[in-house]
């Protein structure tokens, strides 16, 4: 009887440990001092086999109608998982989309996805590009049929889920797991915050300017507050993109787009939801001289930001400290060797 009691207690303790936010591996997921992730890991606990499957899928053009476009086509590991040098991305048959590819990092802290927040959960984000006619032009049901015909994927799905079935749920959750591993928290900025190194003089001044002028929307440590803002971009007469308003149908959301992260900004050009700015200098010029007034303009931008030429150099120097070479060159993130 006592042995039974001890065994039950042992399992009860294990259950409690598992219940308290452990994402599935023994390493702590959130960097020290960061807010708690929004993603519910209890519904999709990270496991090496599922991450591997997700990575295979992420880099596999099989997800597209004509097997030419993979997730990595627009989210390249060499460019902080965005589409460098492309204002708008092209999908199958060279079709052009209407928005700039966002950089994928720190996704566990996002409560919605896409520039207009159309997607409410990371697990279902992949549905949007997979089914969009100008991106991958496929259907999830057909992707599953293709996966079921592959001996390799049949084996990998079984290893991940211990189930011979290949389902939409399994496919999407595996992609999520790989994407959740893309955490960027080791830039020079992070080292400074941990007390491991110091800014040089320009960077230090730039950080002060950043805190005074940018941090209300690009809040540390994620460098986004996750909100939708109208940052004064002149509406594009061809794309006619109303941003968040498309989703909420509310005029108060006209021209508002999600505040993107500034992490790895050195490598995520071109900038803005339509990629209209190729260089950081153009971005700073926009914020100091180019704000377009409209009823929904962010309250933080109603008063113009003033920066001298020297201050622009300093602010840029600080922004470059957000480059995380450990993230950019992590071999676990790049093309899988098959």
């Amino acid at each position: 009887m006592r042995q039974v009691f001890i065994t039950i207690s042992f399992f009860a303790v294990l259950l409690l440990l598992a219940a308290f936010g452990n994402p599935g591996n023994n390493k702590r997921y959130a960097p020290s001092g960061w807010p708690k992730p929004v993603y519910d890991f209890s519904k999709n606990p990270l496991s090496p086999q599922t991450i591997k499957l997700g990575r295979d899928l992420f880099y596999d053009p099989l997800l597209s109608a004509d097997s030419t476009i993979s997730c990595a086509s627009c989210h390249s590991p060499y460019n902080a998982f965005t589409h460098a040098d492309h204002a708008l991305s092209h999908g199958i048959k060279d079709r052009i989309g209407t928005r700039n590819s966002p950089a994928l990092m720190n996704l566990a802290w996002q409560s919605n996805f896409m520039w207009d927040g159309a997607v409410n959960h990371l697990d279902v984000q992949a549905l949007a590009p997979i089914t969009h006619p100008d991106e991958m032009g496929e259907s999830l049901a057909n992707v599953i049929k293709k996966l079921q015909r592959s001996a390799y994927y049949k084996k990998e799905f079984y290893k991940a889920y211990k189930d011979t079935a290949i389902t939409g749920e399994y496919t999407l959750k595996a992609l999520s797991q790989f994407m959740l591993t893309l955490v960027s928290s080791n830039s020079k900025y992070d080292s400074v915050m941990r007390g491991q190194t110091r800014y040089n003089e320009k960077e230090a001044k730039g950080y002060m300017l950043f805190k005074a002028n940018c941090a209300s929307c690009h809040t540390e440590p994620l460098f986004t507050n996750g909100q939708f803002e109208n940052n004064g971009l002149r509406p594009d007469s061809i794309l006619k993109d109303k941003g968040r308003m498309r989703i909420t149908q509310s005029a108060a959301d006209s021209l508002k787009f999600k505040v993107p992260t500034l992490r790895n900004i050195e490598f995520t050009y071109p900038y803005m939801h339509d990629g209209r700015f190729k260089k950081l200098s153009e971005v700073l010029k926009h914020y100091t001289q180019g704000i377009h007034q409209s009823p929904t303009l962010s309250a933080q931008l109603v008063k113009p930001i003033v920066l001298s030429p020297t201050e622009r150099v300093e602010l840029t120097a600080f922004l470059l400290t957000l480059t995380d070479i450990h993230f950019l060159f992590n071999p676990d993130y790049t093309y899988p060797k098959k």
Partner: protein
């Protein structure tokens, strides 16, 4: 420390008792089947061998019908007496006659009301990728804007000899002000086979001028309201 053979006896006793309980429970529950029978006005839609049309006449051709039923509950004299756990079912007429739902209702329970939601609740809508009937590969999930499609109804309609027009109704939406989830409550008597009629004419009667509803909106809510009145039990 109790002697070993006394411990064995206790263990055997426990196992036997559990087995008895299980058997008693199984004997005490009754499987009730629930089937939905779509109609167009009074004509029942019978799935035929052509495998293409659910219903055809000169003015109407239905090519697709699928909807979610969830949150099944039974009431007796206005009191809740039973509810189904993990209650999500996709009733799908697209490729074949859907199989009936099987509910394990304890036979001791009496009920006079059958209640269900037409569609998927908002918490499930924000829970990401789910499995079974909720799998996003079932073509009942909006890819461009997260959320389940509660009801898909497609076909062709022509009025008084005019060229026929395609209709496509994808009814959904879980967020205010376009929350299209609705409850359906029907009086019924306790029975082994429940057949719920569903009159599609009531949906077409409130169709908008373009005969297209493809996103959460006022028209989707209006048609869902009409759909709730389309269900009946004989």
């Amino acid at each position: 420390m109790r002697p070993k053979n006394q411990e064995n006896k206790m263990l055997r006793g426990c196992i036997s008792f559990c087995f008895l309980l299980l058997t008693a429970y199984n004997l005490a529950s009754q499987t009730t089947s629930v089937r939905f029978q779509p109609h167009y006005n009074t004509s029942p839609l019978i799935y035929n061998d052509t495998l293409e049309y659910l219903y055809t006449n000169d003015s109407l051709k239905i090519t697709s019908l699928r909807f979610y039923i969830s949150n099944i509950k039974l009431y007796h004299q206005h009191k809740l007496v039973w509810s189904e756990s993990k209650s999500f079912h996709l009733i799908d007429y697209t490729n074949s006659q859907p199989t009936a739902l099987i509910l394990n209702i304890p036979s001791a329970i009496n009920y006079d009301t059958f209640s269900f939601d037409l569609g998927i609740d908002s918490i499930t809508n924000t829970s990401g990728a789910l499995g079974g009937d909720l799998d996003p590969s079932k073509a009942m999930y909006w890819a461009w804007q997260s959320g389940y499609i509660n009801l898909k109804f497609e076909g062709y309609i022509s009025h008084k000899g005019q060229p026929r027009q395609e209709f496509q109704f994808h009814l959904g939406g879980y967020k205010s002000p376009y929350n299209a989830l609705r409850n359906v409550t029907l009086n019924c008597s306790k029975q082994k086979e429940l057949v719920i009629d569903f009159d599609l004419m009531k949906l077409l009667a409130v169709s908008n001028s373009t005969h297209h509803i493809m996103s959460p909106c006022k028209e989707a809510m209006l048609m869902t309201d009409a759909a709730t009145k389309a269900f009946s039990i004989q």
